[in-house]
Each structure stands twice: as C-alpha cells, then as structure tokens.
C-alpha cells in the first residue's frame, strides 16, 4: 500500500533521527522510556524485597547470632564503601546535569569519575569477600571461615560463635546473597556506564536528547540506595549505644 508508506514517511519527515517509528513525538518517546525505567526499578525493589523479608524474619528470631556475626564484618571497609557510593551518586547526578546542559566534556569527566568510584567499591568488596573466604585469624591464633566452604560456615574454632553456629550461617548466607546481588548490579551498572560513556565521547548527547544518561542515573541511584539499606542492616546490627 504505497499510500500507507507515504503517510508514514510524511509523519517522520521532520522528526529527530532519534525518534523511533512507533512514537508520535520525542516527548512521548522520552516519557515512555522514563516510565519504563521507573517500572523496572519497582521490579528491582520487589526482587531485593524478598531477601529483605527473609532478613527481617531471621533477624527477629536469631538476634544473638545476627549481632555476633555482624561484628565479624569489617565496618571500616564497609564504611569507606558507603562514602564511595554516596560520592558516585553525586558524580552521576552532576553528569546528568551536565548532559542536560549539553556540556560534553564535563559529562564525560563525571561519568568516568562515577565509573572509577564504582570500581573502587568493587575492589574493596573483593578484599572484604576474600577475608571471609580464606578465613580470618582470631586474636587467640585460631582461624574461622565465613564463606560457605565445603558445605558449611566453619565457626567451630570460635568460642563465642560456635554455640550459635546455625544462626551465624543464616546471617552469612543473607550477607552474601544481599551484597552479592548488589555487587552484581554494580557490575552490570558499570557495563552500562561503559556504553553510555562511549556514546558521550562520540558526542551522541545533546541538550535536546540525553535520555540514556538520565535513565542510567536513575539505575545508579537505585543501586546506591540498596547499599544505604544494606550497610546498617548488615554491619551495624549491634553497634549502637
């Protein structure tokens, strides 16, 4: 039907090259993309929500185990990571702002900063995990392993953890599940950041069109917020008062 083809071409004759065929206007396209991202983040909240529910229940039941196990985590590294992530939220927010203003170099620099902070977080997380996996030394010279090696968390050598071993194990499972899933989101985020950065360097973003930077910003903030919940829930169970 040539008439249909004409009408279609007609519609898009003056549209931005960024506009996809099935949208009538750029504004509609942008609204759709933004809403899509928000809905996706809602699914993410539910995804983490399942684990948070499990955490909540076991924390109520097994508070002594959770408190004791929590103290085995490295609060300094966790604290540094919290600062690092909040910093990356700042840089990504500034990157979105720079993209909105159409400032290419500033956008690129801020995206690189965000990526570096994200990598810093993961490197610190790696060292935290490593200690749990190979085991760490107690003051009395014995070693305890908190990673699920050989089918269990070996806390048998620890005087105060051994009696509540199963509670400690559940805490550690949740610790690894929650922070592992969070780290996976960080890794995926850094992958997406790579694409966005490449687009920014190529000059793809203009004052008029910078939707991907905004959507990436939303995702990055979400991953940060998850950590803001994880840090107190996992590291600070028993460190008040």
């Amino acid at each position: 039907m040539p008439e249909a083809a004409l009408t279609h071409a007609d519609l898009h004759a003056h549209a931005s090259p960024r506009q996809q065929h099935h949208f009538d206007t750029m504004a509609q396209q942008k609204e759709a993309a933004t809403l899509g991202m928000w809905v996706f983040l809602v699914t993410e909240i539910m995804f983490f929500g399942g684990m948070f529910a499990a955490y909540m229940i076991y924390r109520m039941w097994y508070f002594p185990g959770f408190a004791a196990a929590s103290e085995e985590l490295d609060i300094t590294l966790g604290g540094i990571n919290t600062v690092v992530l909040i910093g990356s939220s700042l840089t990504v927010a500034l990157a979105v702002h720079a993209a909105q203003e159409g400032k290419k170099n500033q956008t690129v620099a801020l995206l690189i900063a965000t990526g570096l902070l994200g990598l810093t977080f993961l490197v610190i997380k790696y060292f935290e995990y490593k200690v749990k996996i190979v085991g760490h030394h107690l003051p009395d010279g014995t070693t305890i392993t908190l990673f699920p090696a050989a089918g269990f968390f070996d806390v048998s050598q620890s005087e105060h953890l051994a009696p509540i071993a199963s509670q400690v194990r559940i805490f550690m499972v949740l610790y690894f599940a929650l922070t592992g899933m969070h780290a996976l989101h960080m890794i995926i985020g850094i992958g997406i950041l790579g694409v966005i950065l490449w687009m920014a360097i190529k000059g793809a973003f203009t004052k008029e069109w910078h939707v991907p930077v905004e959507l990436f910003g939303l995702y990055w903030h979400f991953v940060d917020i998850v950590w803001i919940f994880l840090f107190p829930l996992l590291y600070l169970v028993h460190r008040h008062g």
Partner: protein, 543 residues
Amino acid sequence: MTTSDAATAVMPARHYLNEQRGIRSWLLTTDHKRIGLLYLFSITAFFFLGGFFALLIRLQLLSPEGALMTSDVYNRMFTMHGVIMVFFFLIPSIPATLGNFLIPIMIGAKDLAFPRINLLSWYIYVLAGLFALASLVLGGVDTGWTFYTPFSTSFSNTPVVTAGLGVFIAGFSSILTGLNFIVTIHRMRAPGMTWFRLPLFVWAHYATSLIMVLGTPVVAITVLLLAFERVLRVGIFDPSIGGDPVLFQHLFWFYSHPAVYIMVLPGMGVMSELVASGARKNVFGYSFVAFSSLAIAIIGFLVWGHHMFVAGQTVYAGLVFSILTYLVGVPSAVKTFNWTATLYKGSISYDTPTLYAFGFLGLFLVGGLTGLFLAAIGLDIHLTDTYFVVAHFHYIMVGGTLMAYLGGLHFWWPKITGRLYPEGWAKLSALVVFIGFNLTFFPQFIVGYLGMPRRYAMYPPEFQLFNVMSTAGASILGFGYLLPMIYLTWAWFYGKPAGNNPWGSKGLEWETTSPPPTFNFDRTPVVTEATHAYGHPEEVKVA
C-alpha cells in the same frame, strides 16, 4: 457472522504477514503482531507437551494400583505437567499472544512502547523453555510444581536447579511483558482514547501487568535462594540448620497466588469483549468491571496465606487470610454478574466465541464458588491436598483461562490471519471441550470430597469409577483441543477472506484491515466514543 461482508471480502494486498518474508524477518521482527504469533507457536508446543503428561497421569489413574508407572515416575509426571502448564503455558498464554497482538491496536498505537524488549522477552521465554526441556531430558523433577523445601533442596535427586532456573528465567520474560504493557497503556493511547474508553480487555491486561511486575521478582529471588541452598548446602529454608521451610512457602505463594490472577485476569478481559460483541451491548457497569480487575490484582496480593492453612501458620494469620480470600470473591462476582447482565436482553449470536464465553461463565462460576469452600478454614482442613483442590483450580485455570483463550483465539483469528475458520467444526469443538472438561474434573470434586489425596500414584478401589470417568473425560478433552489446532491452521491457509469486521463488532481492531498493516493503521485513529458503544440492541441488525 455478517455473511454479506464475508462474501465480498478480499485479502488486503499488503499486511504484516506478507510485507516481509523469510525466517529472518520473523526471528528479528519487532512487530508486536508477529511476536504475538511467535509466542503463540511456542506456547502451543508447551501446551501439548504439558497435555501429554496430563494424559499419562490420567492413564496411570485408570486402575487403583496404577498399572502404568512407578510412584517415582508418576511424581515426575505430575510435576512436569504442573511446571510446564503453569510457567510455560498459562502465565504467558493470553497476555503474550492475544495481549501482545491486540493491545497496541485496541488503543490505536503503532506498536508496544518497547518493541525490541518485546522481542527480547520472547527469546528469554525460549531460553527458559530450553531449561525446562533440559530438566526433562535429565529425568524430570519430582518435587511438585511448588518446589517445596526442604524436599527440593535437601532430598530430591532430580534436576531441581535446572527446572528452577527455567522458572527463574521465564519470570524475566513475564516481567518485561508486563513492563511493556504498563508503559504502552500509559503513554501510547491514540488521541481521544481516554482511560474510560479503553476496552475492558486492556484494563484486564493493565491489572495483570501490575501483578507481573510486582510479583514475579519475588518468585525469582525465592527460586534463586532455593538454588543457592541446594548447590552450596547452606540453610535458609532447611530446618535442620535453622532455616524455615514455611518461609519458602510464604515467599513462593506471595507470587504464585497472584500468579493465578495473572492467568485468569486476561481471560476475564477476553470475556468482556466476547460478551459485549456476542450480545451486541455495551458491557453492563463498564467502570465496575474495569475497577474489579484492579481490585482483584490488589486484593490478590493479600491472600497467599490461604495456601498454608495447615502448614503451621498461626490461627490469627489464618483468620485474616481467610477473610481476605472471601473478599477477593467480591470483584470476581461483580464481573460474573455484570457479564450476565450484559447478556440480558442482548441480541445474542451463538457464534463459536460466544459459546466459549458461555462455557467460561458456567465453569468460572463453579471454580470460583468452590474457591470459597476452600477459603473456609474449617472445611479446608478436610479438603487440603485432596482432588477437590485439583478440581477447583482446574475449573479456574482450564475452565476459565483456557476457555477464554480459545474463545479469544476464535474471536480474533479472522483478524490475526485475515481468514474465516469453519464455523461448524468450531462449534463442535467448543461443545466437545465443554463436555470433556466437565467429565474430567467434576468427578474430581466428588472423589476429593470423599478424601482421595492428590499427588498419589495409587488409590483405594472404591474411587475407581470417578477416576475412570475422569480419564474418559480427559480423552474427550484432548480431542477437543486437537480439533481447533487442525482447523485453525487449515483456515490460516485456505479459509475465506474475513473482511475487516466479520462479527460486526465495535473496537479499533475491527476498523483496520484483516490482517492489519505492519503499523496497524494507515493513519493514527482519533477516538470519539466509548469502545463498546453498541447502542440499543434493536438498532443493530445482524448482517
């Protein structure tokens, strides 16, 4: 069917099916109509695979001692039947096929908001399907489709993780479909297509999408934790190391009960369209039907505990869940009454889709009311894990969803393929399905009430009569499902051209050609009236 239209109808020169040809044009398509068909082919394959297991189950239960297979094999058969039918047929059934095909057309859009994500969702579904098939090749899973812990994590020697990953991955396909629908319905409506002019089919899919988006991630993480526990041997659900198996049930049913509404709500959406068109009347109480979909979606999230009345839940939790379960009956009843009121004094045509709609109305009524029996805690203690439960949810899933799916498939088949199917055969199939269904599942209510437990490969001899009836019914039902597959396929190639609007129905999908052009409409339509504006029945003359 308006025969005068059909007699003169010709196929449009160009449409979405012939604009591009070749396998690549299908595998790389972003056209929601073609993706709907890709889903149709794949879920049909899974439907017959799941049906094959049902057949084996029924054959086994012909005799009390279970002559066909060992208990161990039988466990795998009913598990694979459940897993495949629930996750690979029922959940994607209406949304991914008819919903995908129709929602953009019904709201006057050229496509879904994210066409590439739509295609991605199909590929994810196929990948998930491969995992399900792999778990079959590895011997099949024996945990029941519910994967209850600690059996699934610590004791079962079957490929639970493979099947679990299949369910996990299939979930993402479902999430992406729901996300796409929500954004599309919010942002892609044609000028004049206000929320209260939306077809009720679209409202039902909006409610369904909310459940998909809010519920599916929870089952995803639950299955992931299950796999974590099974592979790494650490306890979250295993009571021997301090875990809680009831927590698994809570997390599982937090999704899997709303998932029942993922399955039946789209069927209710189809029903509203079939009833309106079949009676040539606007749906009685349009806004009540629309909001009852949302009410079902919302209340549906608060009733999961009724699966755990005997699983060690507190009495108080049981009471609350019981009351909430009764509550979800209210919006369901609103729908049923409103469809009936729509039929009242309607100019009813007894075409195949209408016959399926009548079937739905009756069977859903039985399925829904027996749901109230099960919501009563005292009675549920007697009926839990008996064939009464099996019959109840098959009346909803098969008698409801599948009847609506088949009715919808017949109703829109002329739109999808541009051709008419043989009406006589179709009416026959509707009748065969209805009779076969009732013969299969009604005896199960009785035998369940008498105390026959589900998921056993053998049973006391006094239950044999009911089981023989059930198996006989299942054979008839299977025949009833094969028929449409044959004549609908035939019609695709050899049917008479249908014309734009073979039923004389209202709605944007009937204003474009059959099959529609690639971008659905030559020009974006402007909507000026409510969707089901049929006017007074007398004013609309059939043919």
